[in-house]
Subunit: 365 residues, 2 copies
Amino acid sequence: MREDYLKKLVGMMDTDAILISPGEELLFFTGFTPMQCERFQALFVKKDGTMFYLANILYEGELRAAYGDAFPIHVWHDNEGLPKVYEILKAQGIENCSLAVNSTAQCFNVFHIADNLNLKLSDGKPLLEEVRIRKSHEELELMRRSAEIADSVFDKVCGFIRPGLTEGEVSQFMADVMNSYPDSHSRGGLVASGPNSGYPHYMGKDRVIEEGDCIVLDYGTSYKGMRSDMSRTVFVGSITDEQREIYDLVDRSQLAGQAAAVEGAWIPDIDKAGRDVLDEKGLAHTLVNRIGHGIGYSVHEGPYITQQNFRRLERGMCFSIEPGVYLPGKWGMRIENIVCINENGETEVLNKADRSLRVLDWYKK
Amino acid sequence: MREDYLKKLVGMMDTDAILISPGEELLFFTGFTPMQCERFQALFVKKDGTMFYLANILYEGELRAAYGDAFPIHVWHDNEGLPKVYEILKAQGIENCSLAVNSTAQCFNVFHIADNLNLKLSDGKPLLEEVRIRKSHEELELMRRSAEIADSVFDKVCGFIRPGLTEGEVSQFMADVMNSYPDSHSRGGLVASGPNSGYPHYMGKDRVIEEGDCIVLDYGTSYKGMRSDMSRTVFVGSITDEQREIYDLVDRSQLAGQAAAVEGAWIPDIDKAGRDVLDEKGLAHTLVNRIGHGIGYSVHEGPYITQQNFRRLERGMCFSIEPGVYLPGKWGMRIENIVCINENGETEVLNKADRSLRVLDWYKK
C-alpha cells in the first residue's frame, strides 16, 4: 500500500470520491490488482481519506489474501446483481455526489451506478497521473538503473541480429538479457524489420530478417516497478544513401527535441523543435504519433509530449523524446531516449546507448 | 463483415447511434479488431444503417488493410487530440443525440466526447448481446461440433493426469488435444487441484498434483468462432466418503438445473432448481457465482442464468448449467454442460462426456 501516494491523491481530489477499477492504477496504489471481468469491482477512495473495496464475492478470497485489512471489502453475489451494488454504495455514502473514474472503469457498469445513485461523473485519469508526474530522487534513481539495463542490451543485440532470424527471436534475446538482471522484468519489445519498420505501432514478430533491412528496436524493462523504454534503428548488411540522409535527419530531430526539453519549457515547443528538423525535408507529417510520452511506473503516463498539452516541464518529470520518419510499405526509423528534469533542474538523458549509425555486417566476416 | 447481424443491430437500436470500441464485439461484427490503447477509437453504427470508423492515425494502416472500403475511416493525430475527434463526430452527425456504448468503451474518453457533443449515453451491451442471443441452425451446428471437440478431451486427460504433473501441464495437454482438430483454437482451461479447487475462479497453473487431490477441469475451444465450455471434477488415487456424498449432490444439482431449462422456463427458476438440491445439505451459499451464462461467439454472453435475469428461455438460446460446491481452503467440485433450446424447442445437452464419479488410479497399475 503506497500510503504517501494515497494521501497525496486525497489531498488533490476535487470530487467527493474516486473509483479505481482493476489495472495498473490500482496496482500502483495497492500493490495488487485482480483481473477485470464484466462483474463490477473497484476501490473507492473518498475525500475524507477513507477507502473501501466493492467486488463480486467470486473475488473475495484473492482480495482478502492480497489486501488484508487495509480497507473494508464489501461483496455482492451474481444473484443480487447491481441492486446490491447500489445498496452497498449508498451505505458508504456514495450517493448524490461527484465521482471521478479511472482509466479502466467500464462505461456499461458505471452508467447504471451513476444513474441510480445520482452521481456526477468525471474523468479521473489526469488526476491519477498528476499524483505521480514528478518523480522523487528515489524514483529517479530507479529510472536511471532501469534505463541502464535497457542500454546494456544494445551492443549485445547488435552482435546477435543477422539475416535468417525472426523478429520474435530478436525480441526474446533482448528480453533474456534484461531478465538476467535482478529485479528486472521485461517482455522484450518491438522489432520491426524491413517494411514493418514503416509502422510505428507494428505488433508482429514473424518476419524473417533479410540482408538490407532497416530495423527499429523499441524495448525496455521494469526495474523495481520503474520502466525504461528506448529505440534505436539499425541496418542489416547495407544501407542506401537516402537512408543515411534520413537517419541523420531523425538523429538531429531527436537531439533538437531533447535540447528543447528544459525545466520550464512549454510542452508544445518540444514537439515543434523535433518536427521542425523533420520538416527540413518536408517529413514531419510522416511522424504520425506524438513525439513523446511520460514514463515511470507505467510505460505511458503523464506528461504527454504533444501540441495539445499546454503545460510546462517541471522538476522530476520523466518522458520520452522519440521522433521518427515512417514511410508505410517502405521503411521507417526512430530514435528514442528517456529524458528527465532531474533533482537539480537539469535536463538529464537517461539512455546513453550509442546512437551513431550502425550497419551490422559482423556475420559476413 | 456480418451484414445480417449489422442489419439486425440497426433494426433493434433505440438510440441514434451505437459506438463499438475494439474487442470481441467489434471482432464479431467486422471480423477484425485492433488493440485498444488510451487513444480513442471506435466503429459508429447509426440508426440509418450507415457506419464509420474513427481512430488515431497510428492505426490507419492496419484498419484499412483489414476493413477495405466497408466503411469510411476518419483519423485524428496525437497533436490534434480530442478536439479533432469532436470535429469529426459533428461532421458525421453525432451531436445532440443519443449514443449507446459497448462493453469495452472507456469511460475517460467517452465522458469528454459526451460532454462536448451533448450526447445522451446509454449501456449498449445488452443490445449487442440480444442481437445474437438466439442461435441459428447453422450456429447450433457449430456449437455441437465445438462441444464434441471438448468432450473428446475428457477420457484422454483422465489417462494423462497423475501425481507430479503441474496444473499448467494438464491445461497444455488439453489445449494440444483440442488444437489437433481443424478450425479449433483453444488455450486449454482451468485446472484447479487440491485446495485450489475450492476457488471457482482460480487462475493459477503452478501447483503440482498430489495423490488424494480433487481436481476441477474447466475448458473448451473455439470451433469456427463458436465456443465450448465444460467442467468435470475428478479425484486422484483416492476419495473420501464426504467427497462421494458431495459429488452426488453436485451431480444431481446439475441435472436438476438442466431439467428445469426448458423452452419458456423463467430463468430464475433454473437457478433455484440447482440451488435447491445443494440446499439439501445447506450448501447453496457455497455456490458463490451464477449457475450459468450464455455462450456462443463469446464464452460469456447472454442469457445469464441468475436470479436477476427476469426473462424466459427461447428457442436458439445456448447457456451453461454449472453448479458447484466450493469450500475455500479445502476443496471444491463443479460439473458443467452447455445446453441449448434447439431448433425443435427441445432442451439439448451439447456435452456428452461421461459424468460418473472417476477416481483416477491407472498410474498405480
